[in-house]
């Protein structure tokens, strides 16, 4: 259950930060609805943000491993 709680907290944090970054990147002056270009930008931004998250996670993990081996 601790596991589930952490997974949920982690997903919420990711969603919140992603929404913030992608809103700022994709919405210039907010109009009366999300137009096509904005919707595409949001989907793409979201995919790249998750790619970035995974890349960062791997890089951090391998650095931690390297530091552990050094000690």
């Amino acid at each position: 259950q601790v596991k589930v709680q952490i997974a949920v907290a982690n997903a919420q944090e990711l969603l919140q930060r992603m929404t913030d970054k992608c809103f700022k990147k994709c919405i210039g002056k907010p109009g009366s609805s999300l137009d096509n270009a904005e919707q595409k930008c949001i989907a793409m931004c979201m995919d790249r943000y998750m790619d970035a998250w995974n890349t960062v996670s791997r890089a951090y993990n391998s650095r931690l491993q390297k530091e552990r081996n050094r000690v």
């Binding site: 809103f23 919405i27 949001i42 979201m46």
Partner: protein, 78 residues
């Protein structure tokens, strides 16, 4: 009965607190998007921009949350 009443009141207040927390976040983001220089009154253009900003921010949140849920169910996340 009194305990239930108290519990209900606390729940209402918690909801209000959550609502206000959201309003603070939205105001922060939308202020930067819509207000360049503060003028002597909030003109209608700034007001429309603020309303649209809140609506589009919520749209963005819903779009991202729904898409994320679909991806997770398909097993696209590690």
């Amino acid at each position: 009965a009194e305990a239930a009443e108290l519990q209900r009141m606390v729940a209402v207040e918690q909801q209000k607190a959550q609502f206000h927390a959201q309003v603070h976040t939205f105001t922060d983001v939308c202020w930067d998007k819509c207000i360049d220089k503060p003028s002597s009154k909030l003109d209608s253009r700034a007001e429309t921009c603020l309303v649209n900003c809140v609506e589009r921010f919520i749209d963005t949140t819903l779009t991202i949350t729904n898409r994320f849920t679909t991806l997770v169910q398909k097993g696209g996340m590690h």
